[in-house]
């Protein structure tokens, strides 16, 4: 159902904001620490070679630990990752066709470089999208913008990001209403076809514009001067330092020692 899906997407988005209001130790951590560690994590994941697969697996520990300590619902995070994985699939889709050099032999089965790099892309996307989703669910988008600003991002950019985030909700809400109006008069037979979408999209733009202006007026009426103030005061203290340094060391260690390979050698006795 289209109606359900647009409104469902909205509720899903809002759920993310509500998750960020949690009270775990990870929620209370300064947003800068979480942002820095997540960026470092994404950097680590991206730095792996084209055919890296097993080496990246242990990095799963970061999203898993963060999600469980932050008491985030695993199903929800998994759905968010699944939502974005089609993009990664498209990016890696042609690798198995172009790169047919067999790199690994599993008995009679030869696995080509294309398939390996395809899996690598998929794992990367799961790790990075997962980490970013968890960051937003633990911190909240406004707090992330604030952290970006404190870390030296120009204010113009962070305010734009905040508004983009607000506008997204408005857009989805209006889109849901328009789509409902269209479906109710389409009587199930695809409505007026693709032709009805053009005015629909134009209408959507104008409506969201109007609505965003009204919301902006409401914000101005309550003293908004271009800066989002946050209720939760935070400071970068010892806990934040420990969190940042601890994870950074873990990422570096995991990056330079291929843990599964080491483990395999220990088990098969080759290391001796």
């Amino acid at each position: 159902m289209k109606i359900a899906s647009i409104h469902g997407a909205l509720l899903d988005f809002r759920r993310m904001e509500l998750l960020a209001g949690g009270g775990t130790a990870l929620h209370r951590l300064d947003p800068r620490a979480k942002l820095l560690v997540t960026l470092f994590f994404i950097g680590t994941v991206v730095s792996y070679g084209k055919y890296a697969v097993t080496g990246m697996i242990p990095l799963v520990i970061f999203p898993v630990v963060m999600a469980s300590l932050g008491e985030l619902p695993p199903g929800y995070i998994a759905r968010k990752i699944a939502l974005l994985s089609p993009f990664a699939l498209v990016v890696g889709l042609f690798n198995p066709l172009f790169d047919r050099t067999v790199l690994i032999h599993l008995g009679p089965l030869g696995i080509s470089g294309g398939w390996i790099s395809f899996s690598s892309i998929l794992i990367r996307s799961i790790l990075t999208v997962g980490a970013a989703t968890i960051l937003v669910a633990l911190t909240g988008f406004p707090a992330i913008c604030r952290a970006l600003e404190q870390l030296g991002t120009p204010r113009l950019l962070t305010v734009q990001l905040s508004f983009l985030h607000r506008y997204l909700f408005v857009l989805i809400e209006e889109g849901g209403r328009l789509s409902r109006g269209r479906e109710l008069r389409a009587f199930g037979n695809r409505g007026l076809g693709i032709g009805s979408f053009a005015p629909l999209i134009g209408n959507l733009l104008l409506r969201t514009w109007g609505r965003a202006e009204r919301i902006h007026a409401a914000m101005l009426a309550r003293g908004f001067t271009g800066e989002f103030h946050l209720r939760r005061e935070s400071r970068f203290g010892g806990r934040e330092l420990l969190f940042t340094v601890g994870w950074s060391i873990a990422f570096v260690a995991l990056r330079f020692w291929n843990l599964p390979q080491l483990l395999g050698r220990v088990v098969t006795g080759i290391t001796s």
């Binding site: 809002r14 904001e17 509500l18 960020a20 209001g21 909240g140 607000r166 909700f169 609505r211 009204r214 919301i215 007026a217 409401a218 914000m219 101005l220 009426a221 309550r222 003293g223 908004f224 001067t225 103030h229 946050l230 209720r231 005061e233």
Partner: protein
């Protein structure tokens, strides 16, 4: 020292598309007064309200709040003094929780810590929705949303409350509760409404707008007895002043008024 709360001098507004929304509007509202601005759709009520805290800039004339002329430099003062509740609470509530939304204004005023919490709690208690503070605004009912929207404005401790259609879209019970709540506010109050029974209950004075000009300004009951004026401005008497639709009897209040 004792300035009127609101003073409009020859206020005009011309929209960029050439529509003249307001023409030479002049009136004053005294401190503590409760005034209704009524008129047909498109009469200019909402445009007028948006001038009271500088959301719209005048294209002619001037606006004074507590004696201070509205200008770019005085905007922060004016916005602190005039609390505006919009018609559509969904446009007013934009933060993830009711608490965050109510805290938005005071945070912009620079309040923090205990003082901030006190303001938020007080406002939520005042409108009777303290138990909803952790909820997301979009999960509230229409009446609750309206109360939350009022709380967001009360938290800024304004001296003047401006409300666009406060009772629109509410069920009779929620409407009754809201009217009771609004009656208790000590603020200077300006309402626009099509709910003329509410106007009769809350506002001793009414200003009638018609096609962007002031058609009448005076005691509410007098205005509602002027059948010609009401017809010309596409308005009707409040239900409580009309005869009973079943027996045709006019209620006590109207009977008393007619004897005057």
């Amino acid at each position: 020292m004792n300035h009127p709360a609101v003073e409009l001098c020859n206020l005009s507004h011309l929209y960029p598309d050439g529509t003249v929304a307001l023409r030479d509007i002049s009136f004053t509202v005294s401190q503590g007064e409760s005034v209704a601005i009524i008129g047909a759709n498109g009469a200019g009520k909402s445009t007028l309200l948006l001038h009271l805290n500088g959301v719209l800039a005048t294209t002619g004339g001037e606006v004074r709040i507590n004696g201070v002329q509205l200008a770019k430099g005085t905007l922060p003062y004016v916005r602190r003094s005039v609390g505006m509740v919009f018609q559509e609470p969904d446009d007013q509530l934009f933060m993830p929780t009711v608490h965050d939304d109510v805290a938005f204004g005071p945070l912009n005023l620079g309040l923090t810590g205990r003082e901030l919490e006190r303001r938020v709690q007080e406002s939520l208690h005042r409108v009777g929705i303290a138990h909803l503070r952790g909820k997301a605004p979009y999960n509230l009912s229409g009446g609750e949303k309206k109360r939350a929207a009022i709380a967001t404005v009360l938290a800024m401790a304004p001296e003047i409350l401006v409300m666009d259609e406060p009772t629109s879209g509410l069920d009779p019970h929620a409407r009754r509760q809201l009217v009771g709540l609004l009656r208790e506010f000590p603020h200077t109050r300006i309402f626009t409404s099509h709910d003329l029974d509410m106007v009769l209950e809350l506002c001793p004075r009414t200003i009638v707008l018609h096609e962007g000009v002031v058609a009448a300004d005076g005691p509410t009951e007098g205005i509602f007895r002027d059948d010609d004026l009401l017809a010309r401005c596409r308005l009707e008497k409040p239900f409580s002043m009309q005869g009973c639709p079943v027996c045709g009897k006019i209620n006590q209040r109207q009977g008393d008024m007619d004897q005057i």
